[in-house]
């Protein structure tokens, strides 16, 4: 979305703030249903970021798949669990918790250091290919389609096979 500078920044800040709040809510809320709903909030905020970055198709796919399908299924499953059982017997701080928190804290810091160091314009093999084909097509959706059918054809097919395998596995497990 080509918004004037300050409005764009305000929206980014607002989205990031809500995203952080929602992420904390997923982890810290004791009622699992609330956590599932705040996960939905986090996913909506991520798609807001995609909209601000001008990639509408990815944003809408994010909404459709993650919010509309996966999060609804998670809420569906979690709503059958009785909320009060979860927070009863809770040993507050174990070694496992400490180890997990250490890992979780190091990951964002390492990400924060590596992201500014990487030269993102060096990764050109996605942008340079098929320039002749793309000249007439400015459309975002069409570009994604061309890339899926040329550069990323093999990964695309492999992923579809993995999905098929997991689908068949789920059906056989459900039948037993």
């Amino acid at each position: 979305m080509d918004l004037p500078g300050p409005i764009h920044e305000i929206l980014v800040l607002f989205g990031g703030f809500v995203l952080l709040l929602g992420g904390l809510g997923v982890v810290l809320l004791t009622n699992p249903t609330f956590s599932a709903f705040s996960l939905g909030l986090v996913l909506v905020c991520i798609s807001l970021f995609y909209i601000l970055l001008n990639s509408y198709f990815v944003a809408v796919a994010q909404l459709l798949i993650y919010v509309g399908a996966i999060n609804v299924l998670i809420i569906f499953a979690v709503m059958f669990v009785n909320g009060s059982e979860w927070s009863k017997d809770k040993n507050f701080w174990t070694i496992g918790d400490g180890f997990t928190s250490l890992v979780c804290i190091t990951i964002p810091f390492s990400l924060m250091t590596t992201i500014p160091d990487t030269s993102w314009y060096g990764i050109l093999w996605t942008t340079r290919s098929n320039q002749i084909v793309e000249q007439g097509l400015i459309n975002n959706v069409q570009q994604i389609g061309i890339h899926l059918a040329t550069d990323f054809y093999l990964p695309f097919e492999l992923i579809s096979i993995i999905l098929l395998v997991s689908l068949i596995g789920a059906i056989t497990m459900a039948r037993q």
Partner: protein
């Protein structure tokens, strides 16, 4: 964002002045507010139509005292709901209870963003148009699940679960039909889809090129709206009123609004996808080609195209209201069987057929 040309010129002359920059920002909101006002009026008209048509089907008189022909009945209903007490269930979840209906309303209102009412008269002509509608309408079940869960009432809970299951399972055939249409018109944008049908008037409609898709779309959009043959989430005999059992006052009004907004959106999308949108649809008469120079004629053109779109949409609305008062309700297992074992394979086959025809014609 399409505003009238006069308005645009006025805005440009305004924006030269530094002081009026903020006014310029406010003017951008104007089309949105106009659209909201129009939607509200249309919903009121649908409520009135539903009362009148159901009355004439059941050989009653229907509303007649509030205003001429009972036209003000819908406003009277709305005002009554607004002034009613807002009862909160004592052991329910109050925050979720309040957020639920608003999520449902917001998700429906957002999908009006991409509906073209007239020639170039659309709030945002995005390249992903129809896909946006599909994605956003898949958020609405979250609001319904919230409402069902937070009411602390087993009927509400069951209603919420049923609503979510139903809308997920009918979303898929709906998406396949839309995909077939976008293959035919080479675009996802709603404006392009209408333009692709404009060539041969009445005979260029997608209805003739996609008859199976049209039927599947009709059935699954009725199911998405939770209209009567598929209104299991609020089946009175089984679950008191489904997820809206505990609601009263304006929150109940919001759910009521959601059901009619949903109906309006899907009828407008039937118009855009299958019935040729804003075109006059009489072949060999190019109504709009005559005069391009005059501004008054431009405004007339715009009004005509909006009128044509709304006429087609209300035709579909009439059909769906008649269906509501004619057909009995389905059982839950029949509903799921119809969705997964009949509509899904048929729409997949339709999509395959369309794809192969497109490939042959390339």
């Amino acid at each position: 964002m399409i505003i009238d040309r006069v308005q645009v010129e006025a805005i440009n002359s305004f924006s030269n002045l530094e002081l009026l920059k903020e006014v310029y920002g406010l003017i951008w909101i104007l089309p949105i507010l106009t659209l909201l006002l129009g939607i509200t009026i249309e919903v009121l008209v649908i409520v009135w139509l539903e009362r009148e048509i159901s009355a004439s089907i059941q050989q009653r008189i229907g509303p007649e005292y509030a205003g001429p022909l009972g036209l003000l009945q819908a406003i009277a209903d709305g005002t009554k709901l607004l002034f009613k007490e807002d009862i909160l269930p004592s052991r329910g979840d109050i925050p979720l209870f309040s957020i639920g209906p608003s999520i449902a309303v917001i998700s429906i209102l957002l999908s009006f963003l991409v509906i073209p009412l007239g020639y170039r008269f659309v709030l945002a002509d995005l390249s992903i148009g129809v896909f946006l509608w599909i994605a956003i309408s898949s958020i609405a079940p979250i609001g319904l699940l919230m409402a069902g869960y937070s009411s602390n009432n087993k009927y509400s809970f069951l209603g919420g679960l049923r609503a979510a299951a139903q809308s997920i399972s009918y979303e898929i055939p709906l998406t396949f039909c839309v995909l077939a249409i976008s293959l035919l018109s080479n675009s996802l944008s709603t404006v392009d889809i209408v333009e692709a049908q404009s060539k041969y008037g009445f005979f260029g409609w997608n209805l003739w090129r996609q008859p199976i898709g049209f039927l599947v779309f009709l059935i699954s959009s009725l199911a998405e709206c939770e209209r009567l043959p598929f209104d299991l989430p609020e089946a009175e005999e089984e679950l008191v009123a489904g997820y809206q059992t505990e609601y009263s006052g304006i929150k109940y009004g919001l759910f009521y609004l959601v059901s009619y907004l949903n109906l309006l959106v899907s009828s407008l999308f039937v118009t855009v996808l299958y019935l040729g949108g804003w075109n006059l649809s009489i072949p060999y008469i190019s109504f709009f080609g005559f005069f391009q120079m005059n501004k008054m004629v431009g405004i007339l053109e715009m009004t005509m195209s909006i009128f044509i779109t709304l006429t087609k949409a209300y035709l579909f609305l009439f059909i769906s209201i008649t269906i509501r008062w004619t057909l009995p309700r389905m059982r839950m297992d029949q509903l799921l069987n119809l969705g997964w074992k009949f509509l899904l394979p048929i729409s997949l086959g339709n999509l395959l057929l369309t794809t192969s025809f497109q490939l042959v014609s390339l």
